[in-house]
C-alpha cells in the first residue's frame, strides 16, 4: 500500500480526542427524584452493563471515524502486484507478446486480429515513458531481445505477420518473463496480445508458465484480448489419405471433415488435382483440375465427414488440394493440400512347399485377385516359387517375401532372408504343419528372422479360438478401426497353431488370439520388418485345416493380408504430407542422386537444396508456408520430380476461446489484468502501476461510520 500524503497519517493521532472526552468529560445525566427506585435497582446491573457496552461502541465508532478520515486524507492506493513505488513516468521494461498464429488472420469488422493487435500495440507504445526498454515477441520460435529503442519496436510491430508454425503463447510468455527478469529497470510489464483461443493456451503449459512468471514476480501482466467473442468460420479438418504411396491405377481415397463454428447453411467443398498444363510456357507448370465436389448442409457447431475418391492416377507424384468454396472469417483453414506418389504394383515373392501354387492360392487371390490381375488394377504383383528355389532366387526385385508353411530351410537361406530384411524389405512367415522338426526352427539362423522359439502345436478342436486384434493402432490393422467389434472373426476359427516360447528381442505382438496367445508378431530387423503368423493360410480345407481364415466370406482375411503386405512393402513409411514447421525428409534413390535439387514453394519461390548423400535423403527445413512444394532435378525426362505438401496443424486454426475464469488457471496466484479496449488498458495499466486509489472507499467508510455513530448516539442519548 502506498500513500500520496503519508504525513497526514499523523492525523490518526487525533484518535485520543474521543478517548479523553470519554474518560474526562462524561456528560452528567439529568438528576430526577424517583421514589420507586427499588424497582429500578433490581434490574440496574444488566442495564449498566449494556450502557457501558454502548458507550464503548460509540467510543470505538468515533475513534474509527477519525482513523479512517486520516487514512483517507493520506490517499492510500493498493497495488495488486508488489512493485516499485515512484512516478508513473519512470521508464518501463516492457515485453509485448503477440500471438501470430494463422488464427490471428481471422477477419472481423474488416480487420484481422493481428491488425487489431498491432493498432493497440502501437498506441500502447506511444503511452510508454521514454527511455523504456521494449521487447517485441511473437509466436515464432527463437530467443527474445529488447529492441534498440521505441522506434525499432514500432518498426518491428508494424512488420509482424502470422506464422504457420506458431508456438503456444505460454512458451513465448515464459521467454518474455525470463527476458524481463534480467532487466535492470525497476518497473516491468508484460503485454500479451491474444485472441484467448484454447489452442494458443494449452493447459499443460500452465505449470511451466507459472514457474517462469515467478522468476519476475514484480512484473505487471496485462492480457489484451483482441479476439472475437462469437466467431463464425468454416474449417476443413486434416486430410486422411488411403495411402501416400499408392500403386498405379488404384483408387486414392481422401477423407476429411467440414467443421462449422457459428455458421450454418449449405456449403460446397471441392477437390482439385494439379495436372500438367500443356498450354503453359514454363515447362513442368501445372494447373488445378477439379476432380470432385460435395455440398453439405451444416448447422452452427456441427461437423460433417467428407470422402473423395480419385482414380486413374498415372505413375508419378500427384498433388492437389481440397477447398471450401466461398469466403469466411478465417481463410487459412479453408484449403488443405495433399501429395501422393503413384508407383507400379509391388512385387511380392510367395515361397511355398510343392505344389507351391496350391499352397499359395489363398494368399495370392487375397493380394492380387484374378480379375484385378487381368485388368491391371492389382496393388501387388505376386510371383509364386517353391521353397527349394529360394537359395538361387534373386530377392532384390521383390518388395516383400512370404514364406507359406515353410519346411526346415538351410541355414544359408535363413541368413539370406535376414540380410534381405535388414536392407529394408519385408518378410512374412506363416508357420504350419511343415515346421517339423521344431529344433531346426529354434536354431540361430532361423531365430534371426522368426519372432520367437516354437514351443508346441496347440489345438482347439472346438473351434472357439479365433483371432482377436485389440489395439488397432498398428498400420496393418488400422483398416479394421472403423469396424471394431463388427469383424466376424468367430466365423473363421483357428484349430491349431504354433505356441511360441518367448518372443525374440524387439518382437511384439500385433494381434493375439482370443486366449491371449500371440497370433501375429512383428520383429524389426535392420531397416526392414519380419512378421511371423503362428497359423498358416495355405491348408486345403478338405485336409483337416489348421484354421478357416480364408474360407467362406473371408473379407477379414483379405483385408488383413493386404494391409499386412502394404505395411511390409513400406507403402506408408515415407511421409509426403507434413505440418508447417516440420522438417521434410524425402528419400532419394541411392543410384541416382543429383548434386542439387530445385525446391519450388507454394508461392513460386525457388531454392537450390543439396542432398544428404550418405543418408540418401533430401532434408528441407523451410516449410513454414502451407501449400504444395515440388522438388526437381535433372530435367523433365530422366530426372527426379517429386513433391510434398505442408498444411497447418488443425489446432492452429481452432477458434474456440477460453473464458476469462478458465484463463485464470494459467496464472495461478500470479496477478494479471484483462483488457479489451484502449480505455480498459489505460485503466488497468494505471491501476497496475499506481495501485487502486482507496480514497473513495475510505471516505464512504467514514460517512458510514459517522452515520452509524449518529444513529446510535441518538438512540442512546435521547433527550428526556
Amino acid at each position: 500500500m502506498t500513500f500520496v500524503n503519508p504525513l497526514l497519517l499523523a492525523g490518526a493521532g487525533l484518535v485520543v480526542i474521543p478517548l479523553v472526552l470519554h474518560l474526562v468529560m462524561r456528560r452528567r445525566p439529568r438528576l430526577v427524584e424517583f421514589p420507586a427506585l427499588r424497582f429500578v435497582r433490581l434490574r440496574h446491573e444488566t442495564n449498566q452493563r449494556q450502557l457501558r457496552l454502548r458507550h464503548l461502541l460509540l467510543l470505538l465508532l468515533r475513534m474509527l471515524a477519525i482513523v479512517l478520515a486520516a487514512l483517507a486524507l493520506a490517499r492510500p492506493s493498493l497495488r495488486l502486484s508488489a512493485g516499485p513505488i515512484g512516478s508513473q513516468r519512470a521508464p518501463v521494461a516492457a515485453a509485448l507478446v503477440f500471438d501470430t498464429s494463422p488464427r490471428m488472420e481471422y477477419r472481423h469488422e474488416n480487420r484481422t486480429r493481428l491488425e487489431a493487435a498491432q493498432e493497440l500495440a502501437l498506441w500502447l507504445l506511444a503511452q510508454l515513458p521514454p527511455e523504456s526498454q521494449v521487447a517485441v515477441l511473437d509466436s515464432r520460435r527463437g530467443p527474445a531481445a529488447f529492441q534498440v529503442d521505441l522506434g525499432a519496436a514500432r518498426h518491428r510491430i508494424e512488420r509482424l505477420e502470422t506464422t504457420a508454425d506458431a508456438q503456444p503463447i505460454p512458451h513465448v510468455l515464459a521467454e518474455a518473463a525470463r527476458l524481463l527478469a534480467g532487466s535492470e529497470l525497476a518497473r516491468k510489464e508484460m503485454y500479451v496480445f491474444t485472441d484467448l483461443a484454447r489452442a494458443a493456451w494449452p493447459i499443460d503449459a500452465a505449470g511451466r508458465l507459472q514457474e517462469r512468471l515467478n522468476e519476475a514476480p514484480d512484473a505487471g501482466l496485462y492480457l489484451i484480448d483482441v479476439g472475437v467473442a462469437q466467431p463464425a468460420n468454416l474449417a476443413l479438418g486434416e486430410l486422411r489419405l488411403s495411402g501416400q504411396i499408392v500403386s498405379s491405377r488404384s483408387t486414392l481415397r481422401i477423407e476429411t471433415e467440414l467443421i462449422s463454428i457459428g455458421m450454418g447453411d449449405k456449403h460446397t467443398v471441392e477437390l482439385y488435382v494439379l495436372e500438367p498444363d500443356p498450354a503453359a510456357k514454363v515447362p513442368g507448370a501445372r494447373r488445378p483440375e477439379k476432380r470432385g465436389e460435395q455440398t453439405v448442409s451444416l448447422t452452427p457447431g456441427q461437423s460433417r465427414s467428407l470422402e473423395f475418391r480419385v482414380s486413374n492416377l498415372n505413375q508419378g507424384t500427384h498433388q492437389g488440394y481440397v477447398q471450401i468454396l466461398g469466403q469466411d472469417g478465417l481463410g487459412a483453414d479453408d484449403r488443405r493440400y495433399f501429395t501422393v506418389e503413384v508407383k507400379p504394383a509391388w512385387r511380392i515373392l510367395i515361397a511355398a512347399p510343392k505344389p507351391e501354387n496350391t499352397y499359395a492360392v489363398f494368399l495370392r487371390e487375397a493380394l492380387a485377385p484374378e480379375s484385378f490381375r487381368r485388368s491391371g488394377l492389382a496393388r501387388f504383383a505376386c510371383d509364386v516359387a517353391p521353397l527349394d528355389d529360394l537359395p538361387q532366387k534373386d530377392l532384390a526385385p521383390y518388395a516383400a517375401v512370404c514364406l507359406l508353411d515353410p519346411k526346415p530351410l538351410e541355414p544359408l537361406v535363413w541368413q539370406k532372408l535376414a540380410d534381405y530384411v535388414a536392407e529394408g524389405h519385408g518378410l512374412a512367415v506363416w508357420l504350419g504343419r511343415n515346421a517339423e522338426p521344431v529344433k531346426t526352427f529354434n536354431e540361430p539362423p532361423a531365430q534371426d528372422v522368426l519372432a520367437g522359439k516354437l514351443l508346441r502345436q496347440a489345438r482347439s478342436p472346438e473351434g472357439k479360438l479365433t483371432l482377436a486384434p485389440e489395439n488397432l493402432e498398428h498400420p496393418a490393422l488400422v483398416a479394421f478401426r472403423g469396424l471394431a467389434g463388427g469383424v466376424p472373426w468367430s466365423r473363421h476359427p483357428v484349430y491349431r497353431y504354433w505356441q511360441l516360447d518367448a518372443l525374440a528381442e524387439g518382437a511384439h505382438v500385433i494381434a493375439p488370439f482370443n486366449d491371449a496367445g500371440p497370433a501375429i508378431v512383428e520383429r524389426p530387423l535392420g531397416r526392414g520388418r519380419a512378421i511371423t503368423v503362428t497359423t498358416p493360410v495355405s491348408d486345403d480345407p478338405n485336409r483337416d485345416p489348421w484354421n478357416l481364415l480364408p474360407i467362406g466370406e473371408a473379407w477379414p482375411f483379405v483385408i488383413l493380408a493386404n494391409e499386412m503386405m502394404a505395411y511390409l512393402v513400406g507403402s506408408g513409411s515415407e511421409e509426403l504430407n507434413y505440418r508447417a514447421g516440420q522438417t521434410v525428409a524425402l528419400e532419394l534413390p541411392a543410384d541416382r542422386i543429383a548434386p542439387s535439387y530445385l525446391l519450388t514453394g507454394p508461392d513460386g519461390t525457388q531454392a537450390r537444396i543439396a542432398p544428404d548423400v550418405k543418408q540418401h535423403r533430401l532434408m528441407i527445413t523451410s516449410t513454414e508456408l502451407p501449400g504444395n512444394y515440388r522438388v526437381q532435378a535433372g530435367g523433365p525426362e530422366e530426372g527426379v520430380d517429386r513433391g510434398f505438401s505442408v498444411n497447418l496443424a488443425p489446432e492452429q486454426t481452432r477458434l474456440e476461446r477460453w473464458s476469462d475464469q478458465e484463463l485464470a488457471q494459467f496464472f495461478g496466484t500470479y496477478p494479471f489484468r484483462l483488457a479489451r479496449s484502449k480505455e480498459q488498458i489505460e485503466l488497468n495499466v494505471h491501476t497496475g502501476r499506481v495501485g487502486r486509489e482507496l480514497f473513495g472507499v475510505l471516505i464512504l467508510a467514514v460517512a458510514a461510520v459517522l452515520g452509524l455513530e449518529h444513529v446510535l448516539a441518538n438512540r442512546f442519548y435521547k433527550k428526556g
Partner: protein, 298 residues
C-alpha cells in the same frame, strides 16, 4: 362530559383550593355518573313514603299502599349503619413526590380520602383518621356528625409528607389500636419491603377489620416517562442510580406490574380489596372500588 363529572379528573379538582369543596365535587360528580342511588339497598331502614316517580326502582313500590290507595308510593330508607371507617394515610416523604409538579400522590390521596369521608358522613357512617409514616403520627376518633368532615379536612390540609416510612409497623400498630371491627381504608404507595406489609395486612384482616388498600403511585412511577440518560434519586434514602431510561422502561414496567400483581394476589387471598391507582387516574375508579367492596359486604 357534564360539568359535574369533570370534577372526577385530578387536574380539574387540583384547581379547587377548598378541600371540602373538592370532596363534594368529587362525590357529586361520581354519584351523577351512577344510574341508581348508591345508598339504597344496604344497611338502611324504612323512613317514609313518597310518590313514585319514573326512574325509581319498581321493586321499592309499596304494594300495600297501592292496594289501599290505588297510588304508587315508594318506600324511602334511611341509613342506620354504624360501619366505622378509618382513613389510614401514609405521609412518608415519598408520598409527596410528583413528577409533573401538579398533584403529588399525597394530594391525590387527600382528595380521595376527603371524598370518601364526605361520602361516608353523608351516609352518617362514623369516620376516623389515622396518619402514619414510621408509626402513627396523628389520629382522629371516628364520628358521624357533620362537623367531623371539617375536622378531618382541617387535619388533612395541614399534613406535610416528610420522613421515612414503615408501613408494616404502622399497620401493626393500627391493628392493635382498633378495638371494634371497622373498615380500614389504607392510602399508601407501599414503597417498602412487601413481605412485612403483607403480613401486617393479614394481621389487620385477622382482627376482623375490612380492609381496602388504595395503592397510589405517581404517574411517573406507573409509566416511567423518562428518556435518555437519567440519574434517579430516592427521596427518602438519597440513594442514586444512573441509567438509560429508554432502554430500561420495559424492564421497569415489568417490575412494577409484577409488584402490583403480587399485592393483588396476596390481597385477594386475604379478602382485602386492592385498588391500584396512579395520580393521573380519575377519582371515580377509587370510589367505585370502595363502593364495590362495601356493597359486597352489606
Amino acid at each position: 362530559m357534564s360539568t359535574v363529572e369533570k370534577y372526577l379528573k385530578p387536574e380539574v379538582i387540583r384547581q379547587i383550593k377548598r378541600l371540602d369543596l373538592r370532596a363534594q365535587f368529587i362525590v357529586k360528580g361520581f354519584l351523577h355518573g351512577l344510574h341508581a342511588s348508591p345508598f339504597h339497598g344496604f344497611s338502611v331502614e324504612f323512613s317514609e313514603h313518597r310518590k313514585y316517580t319514573p326512574g325509581d326502582d319498581p321493586k321499592d313500590i309499596d304494594w300495600l299502599i297501592y292496594a289501599k290507595t290505588d297510588k304508587y308510593y315508594v318506600k324511602k330508607y334511611e341509613a342506620e349503619t354504624n360501619i366505622t371507617g378509618y382513613l389510614a394515610m401514609d405521609i412518608s416523604r415519598s408520598m409527596g413526590y410528583t413528577h409533573r409538579q401538579d398533584m403529588t400522590k399525597f394530594d391525590y390521596t387527600i382528595c380521595l380520602a376527603a371524598a370518601l369521608c364526605y361520602l361516608m358522613i353523608s351516609q352518617q357512617d362514623p369516620v376516623g383518621l389515622l396518619v402514619f409514616d414510621e408509626k402513627i403520627r396523628k389520629s382522629l376518633p371516628p364520628k358521624s356528625r357533620r362537623g367531623q368532615l371539617a375536622t378531618v379536612l382541617s387535619v388533612l390540609a395541614n399534613l406535610k409528607p416528610t420522613g421515612k416510612t414503615d408501613v408494616a409497623a404502622s399497620l401493626t400498630q393500627i391493628a392493635a389500636m382498633l378495638r371494634h371491627a371497622s373498615l380500614v381504608m389504607i392510602f399508601s404507595d407501599l414503597l417498602a419491603e412487601p413481605e412485612p406489609i403483607v403480613q401486617a395486612l393479614h394481621r389487620l384482616r385477622h382482627r376482623g377489620h375490612d380492609v381496602i388498600l388504595f395503592h397510589v403511585l405517581d404517574e411517573a412511577e406507573a409509566r416511567f416517562p423518562f428518556e435518555g440518560m437519567v440519574e434517579l434519586e430516592e427521596p427518602e434514602s438519597g440513594e442514586r442510580l444512573t441509567l438509560d431510561a429508554d432502554n430500561f422502561r420495559h424492564d421497569y414496567l415489568a417490575e412494577i406490574e409484577a409488584f402490583r400483581e403480587m399485592y393483588r394476589r396476596e390481597c385477594f387471598q386475604a379478602g382485602i380489596d386492592y385498588v391500584p391507582l396512579d395520580t393521573s387516574m380519575q377519582f371515580d375508579k377509587a370510589l367505585a372500588g370502595y363502593l364495590a367492596g362495601r356493597k359486597a359486604r352489606y
